[in-house]
Symmetry: C2
Subunit: 391 residues, 2 copies
Amino acid sequence: MRITDIREAAIPVRSAMRNAVFDFSEMTTSIVAVVTDRMVEGRPVVGFAFNGTGRYACGATMRQRFIPRLLKEAPEALQDAEGFLDPEKCAAVMARREKPGGDAERAWAIGTIETAIWDAAAKARREPLWALLARRYGPGTPGGQVFCYVGGGWYHPGQMVADLQEEMRRHRGAGYTMLKTKVGGLALDEDQRRIEGVLQIVGEGSNLAVDANGAFGRDRAFAYADMLAPYALRWFEEPVAPQDFALYAEVCGRYPGAIGTAENLYCLQDVLNMIRFGGLRPDRDILQVDPPQAFGIGHFARIVQAAEAAGFSRAQIFPHGGNQMSLACVGGLGLGGCEAYPGVFGAFAGYADDARVEAGWMRLPDRPGIGFEAQAELYALMRDLAPEAAG
Amino acid sequence: MRITDIREAAIPVRSAMRNAVFDFSEMTTSIVAVVTDRMVEGRPVVGFAFNGTGRYACGATMRQRFIPRLLKEAPEALQDAEGFLDPEKCAAVMARREKPGGDAERAWAIGTIETAIWDAAAKARREPLWALLARRYGPGTPGGQVFCYVGGGWYHPGQMVADLQEEMRRHRGAGYTMLKTKVGGLALDEDQRRIEGVLQIVGEGSNLAVDANGAFGRDRAFAYADMLAPYALRWFEEPVAPQDFALYAEVCGRYPGAIGTAENLYCLQDVLNMIRFGGLRPDRDILQVDPPQAFGIGHFARIVQAAEAAGFSRAQIFPHGGNQMSLACVGGLGLGGCEAYPGVFGAFAGYADDARVEAGWMRLPDRPGIGFEAQAELYALMRDLAPEAAG
């Protein structure tokens, strides 16, 4: 199995959302197609991926460095023992001639290509990616399903608590039991009224998480920690700047509930630093690394293994990015659950068009690979890149 | 003073060097021209910069995000009270709509443009950049000169200790007193023979630093620390991976001499983490952040101030990147010294063609701005981007 071509395109995300820190009005994402010489039903196997949510397109670095390194490599050096493409070997080749450190500059370019190679490798085996990942890095989730919650509650101009409650009612109606809402975009007392409004819809605190997107300094983080503690929420996400380990340690020392973090950490070393110096508590805190943004699924699996070695359970890992790539990782590696962003990021979020959530759980797909073929709007963009693909 | 255009080009560095970790055969760098409406002697003031040494060109992110944000902004919002371009305001505008964390993905794109704006702002004032920086972030170095050492001793195929000694003799003949040589590319005993060979040329250990480029794991870092300690070298640079703060703390606890680090840290928060968790000793260790790679000179000045607040003296700061941008920072902020890489990075290293080093010291230039106009080979590339510029 050989790579014959790798193509990428930058697509505007067209999201009107904002959180406590920034808006998405200029946001783009890169979609990638890895074309192979392996034929299935008369068409070449093509692996697809996109670079997740919240980070800009990275096609130039792909074209200038990572795609040429793969295409120049001897094809056998990119294969596993069975002759399929080996995504971890591909990632190692892409990482050549890179100066150590500064990982974020290349983490999602390499990670998105690596994820597309996983899609191709699973399609060539005619199995869902989660099943391949379960054999490689498992155990997978039991029962062929994963827990899924909604990352919602974004701020809109003119939004009232009743509007937010209406949004949350809609998510509950769609089968979700756990919801997440933004905090930090308003004054504390206004945010508290939002939280109490949402709790009227979701019931107990364990059905609700809140997300500050790293907006708080020390005083405001402490004020929110103290305000939030009595609600016993599922977790308090990114209270402070993503690399401020010392301040994380202070917040973890003050807030009794779970803290969620690490969606903005892009390599194993940074996650280890957060665990070592950020005061995270292995019995409760939540890790949220984004696989295609953090050098890909192979590197993500090493992060999961390192977190386990530090005492975290896989049930405490909820990868960032509500999409079928994170779904395959959660299902394959047996993690805590997936995020969903209904209606927020257009084509670049969500699951198969026929996916259903029931009482908070979603069945894993049967389709080969990641399964983008079952997302009509997203797959139309991917097919434009590789019209020779099946589907 | 308004920006009328910003242009960039990616240029291959064409270096045959390698250190203990990677080679530079594919390396590129971005050069930037910020064209303004301010006229001096009948020509528009144009600010220039390039994105330093060891990190690839970043023109696509400049074109897609940072240049449009500056060109769309109201010109008055980018000016200081006197009507000159304000590089710190420009950096803040470029940083809009960026998700916190993942700094390295944008640090050198923003930093290179910001540095070019400093060049333009100083040229519009008809003064050298170091003088403008001394007023803004000073005090500058006394006596109008800076200490300068050679970052050399790279590995070459077939190189003998005598070849390395010949290189070091050449640097001494050119006026340098302090030299640096690579370690970690050979076995410890071979590296030790190289060091003893170089010490025969440079005299006492305080005239020699060594650089492992982050190559070592724990055991090898300890073995080198123990081998190096008796030589009392000027510093031992990047013994381990740049963000492995826990291992840095172990090495700092074991090695009595100075450790140098931080050329691969790209924002204030990461440097603070290194100081807090890396075990650095404020009375001796050396910080080497690269200004145009770390969000630019304004952000670099905040890092210098934070290091001072933590007990480091400015004499312990030796910015990475042996070029006139770091020279202006050393001269303006009164730092420990500059690096030079004679003959290694082609046009993308070094100082004015008429610069001279005497007994380890170099006079600061009198030319307005950074002074690239006095580097014929480099300035020819810059003029290609902005033929309307003076010089």
